[in-house]
């Protein structure tokens, strides 16, 4: 197995693990971490493609590395924003769950009659 193939498989495993955590973890902090795990997989994929030299046929393609740096900055900003909102939510509300409010049942106390 060549190096790029091995790293590509690791990248796929990271994306898969991240997606699993993103879907099943109940806590928002874990979802944000899962997003970062998926992101790591994607960035590793960038590295693999750079190493393959893609179409250019050279030893290492510099363009994916430039993209990768930008991608990391974007993911970092996204994480910072999400953590900030989460901290504010923890201050303001009793619980930080992201599940929507349960559907209104038939006996609706807040219902105003016309």
């Amino acid at each position: 197995m060549t190096g790029p193939t091995l790293f590509a498989l690791v990248a796929a495993a990271l994306v898969g693990t991240g997606l699993y955590g993103f879907i099943v973890s109940p806590s928002p902090l874990r979802k944000i971490l899962a997003f970062n795990v998926i992101g790591s997989g994607v960035f590793l994929m960038f590295g693999v493609i750079a190493r393959r030299g893609a179409i250019a046929g050279i030893g290492g393609d510099p363009v994916p590395q430039a993209l990768l740096i930008t991608g990391i900055v974007v993911a970092f900003s996204a994480t910072a924003l999400a953590i900030t909102v989460l901290l504010r939510l923890a201050e303001e509300a009793p619980t930080t769950t992201l599940e929507p409010a349960p559907p209104r049942g038939a006996p609706d106390a807040t219902r105003t009659t016309s």
Partner: protein
């Protein structure tokens, strides 16, 4: 090659961002003045770019730093971008005029957090949207998409209350999953093509499993950001909880950014890859969105939630054009009347939905609440606000000569020509369902009001701004007829055929509202079995909607859709 007037494209992006930076540096009351000046400058640039495009008849291109793609980055504005640039500028300006009354720094303080942040974010949303519209490569599109999300999310929680923070966090985290899928697809395309420049990718990409999965994942990720059913878990609380001037931005414009990239992807990047089966899935989701969005809208008690669910339905309407734009002979998606119709619908919805949220905000301000059942007498108390809401609603129904009317006619023609009669049914049904919730609100506000609950007067400029945006949809029809659309489509609204179609839409809408709405004026006795059955059906739709908005379900739906699109593309090849 940079074309004449190409410099306008970087200016489109830079001017709003420079305005936002200057507003941040100046702060306080000065921030609002800077924002107003930026709105005027940006509108002028967008219009000028439109003039340049019409003059040359070719896409405006600017090559950054003189570096040619694939090494450099090009900004491009074709007809789609140019029309959207103007539409976004007009809607942002209208919202800005409206927001002056809500987000001015209060007397006695030199700076308040809410107003300052609102003006910064308004300009940031605009700059990011303009970057989405003019980007010529897939990675710049990714950055623009993320900027748009970062600017849009804080608009949801401007008031800093627990529920809006929760809505904002849900929106942000789900949107991040969407963007990471988009990025993964872009990486795979780079691996296949060695470039991210859209025209070059279009030349080099060929049918292969990696290409199918790349396009499928990018599409699914973008749908999560557009909130197409069933990936809409974040939309209703986020759009209904934000302040009205922010809801208008989110509902009218922010979701259109990712929708625009779907169009780029399917029409420009890889027109031959997705195929008809994938397009049928896309439009099928759109049809489900129309049904769920409209029926759940009818069950809402708060006006802003009703409008948020209406947005869900209207987003579905936008996706109906995909199977109709497919050319069976070449096996590709082609730019034609169906795409024109889709863009008309996009712009019509942007103006109309902004007006509806603004009108709802005015009613909230007048009454101190937005419970639909308690808005009796609003027609007399705030006639211009009600008029703006109704004109916006009528503009979406597609009955009178308006943008949505032309869009519906073009799509009906395309559906008839390609023998896809089932989309004709959905298009007509969508009009009826839109009519139903507009009629429902109209029925409540025209009832005789309670004199004790005398409303507060609302500023006239805000009412005029809302009404002006609502009327833009009719101006759009005129602009379209002078541009890409044949004038024969625009019939006399008083001709018997048109009159009957209008009346029928309203009448069927009334019927749907009477059967499905929770609170209707007492025309049907409570024990009527048909109404009881329909209420139960509506309740089932509402519970299904709530189940689909559970996190695990929505997350799985995202993955399932990505694989479904990939599999559909395989059948095409």
């Amino acid at each position: 090659m940079t074309t004449p007037g190409g410099l306008l494209l970087p200016l489109c992006v830079l001017v709003p961002f420079v305005g936002a930076m200057a507003a941040l540096a100046i702060g306080g009351r000065g921030a609002q003045r800077v924002a107003m000046a930026t709105l005027a400058a940006g509108l002028a640039i967008a219009l000028w770019n439109g003039v340049v495009f019409i003059g040359s008849g070719q896409a405006v291109v600017y090559v950054l730093g003189g570096w040619q793609p694939p090494l450099g980055i090009a900004l491009r504005a074709d007809g789609l971008s140019t029309s959207m640039l103007v539409a976004v500028a007009v809607v942002i300006t209208g919202i800005g005029v409206y927001a002056r009354a809500d987000f001015s720094t209060p007397a006695g303080s030199s700076e308040a957090r809410g107003p300052l942040v609102y003006w910064l974010l308004l300009l940031a949303v605009w700059g990011s949207l303009n970057l989405v519209l003019v980007s010529g490569d897939l990675f710049t599109l990714y950055v623009a998409l993320e900027l748009l999300t970062f600017a849009g999310v804080p608009l949801v929680c401007l008031d800093g209350k627990g529920e809006t923070l929760r809505a904002a966090l849900r929106y942000l985290v789900y949107a991040l999953a969407g963007s990471v899928l988009y990025l993964l697809g872009a990486v795979l395309l780079y691996g296949l093509c060695g470039t991210l420049d859209i025209p070059l990718v279009a030349q080099r990409v060929h049918a292969s499993p990696a290409a199918w999965m790349a396009i499928a994942m990018m599409t699914a990720g973008l749908l999560a950001k557009t909130a197409l059913f069933p990936l809409h878990l974040w939309l209703p609380p986020a759009h209904a909880g934000a302040p009205p001037a922010a809801s208008a931005v989110l509902s009218a414009l922010v979701v259109k950014g990712s929708f625009f990239i779907v169009i780029r992807l399917w029409f420009d990047v890889a027109p031959t890859l997705p195929g008809l089966a994938a397009a049928q899935i896309l439009a099928g989701l759109g049809a489900a969105a129309i049904l769920f969005g409209s029926l759940v809208a009818l069950r809402q008690q708060r006006l802003k939630l009703l409008i948020a669910y209406s947005t869900l339905a209207q987003i579905g309407y936008l996706f109906l054009m995909f199977p109709l734009a497919f050319d069976a002979a070449s096996g590709a998606f082609v730019r034609g009347s169906a795409l024109t119709a889709g863009m008309l619908q996009t712009i019509a919805h942007a103006t109309a939905k902004a007006a509806m949220f603004m009108a709802a905000g005015l009613l909230y301000k007048a009454y101190g609440h937005d419970r639909i059942a308690d808005l009796a007498g609003a027609l007399r108390a705030a006639p211009l606000s009600v008029l703006a809401f109704v004109v916006g609603g009528v503009a979406l129904m597609g009955v009178l000569p308006s943008g949505a009317y032309l869009a519906k006619k073009l799509l009906l023609d395309a559906a008839g020509a390609s023998g896809q009669w089932w989309w004709e049914v959905v298009l007509q049904g969508g009009g009826f369902l839109t009519a139903s919730y507009v009629v429902l609100v109209l029925a409540q506000v025209t009832r005789r009001g309670d004199a004790a609950a005398a409303p507060v007067r609302v500023p006239r400029t805000q009412e005029v701004a809302a009404l002006a945006l609502a009327l833009c949809s009719f101006a759009l029809a005129l602009a379209a007829v002078y541009g890409p659309v044949s004038g024969d489509l625009l019939g006399n609204p008083l001709a018997p055929k048109e009159l009957i179609s209008t009346l029928m839409t309203v009448a069927v809408g009334c019927g749907v509202a009477l059967l499905f709405a929770r609170d209707v004026p007492p025309l049907i006795p409570a024990g009527n079995p048909l109404r009881a059955a329909m209420l139960a059906v509506g309740g089932a739709f509402e519970r299904t909607d709530a189940a689909l908005r559970q996190w695990a379900v929505a997350g799985l739906s995202l993955l399932v859709l990505a694989f479904l699109f990939g599999a559909a593309m395989r059948t095409h090849a």
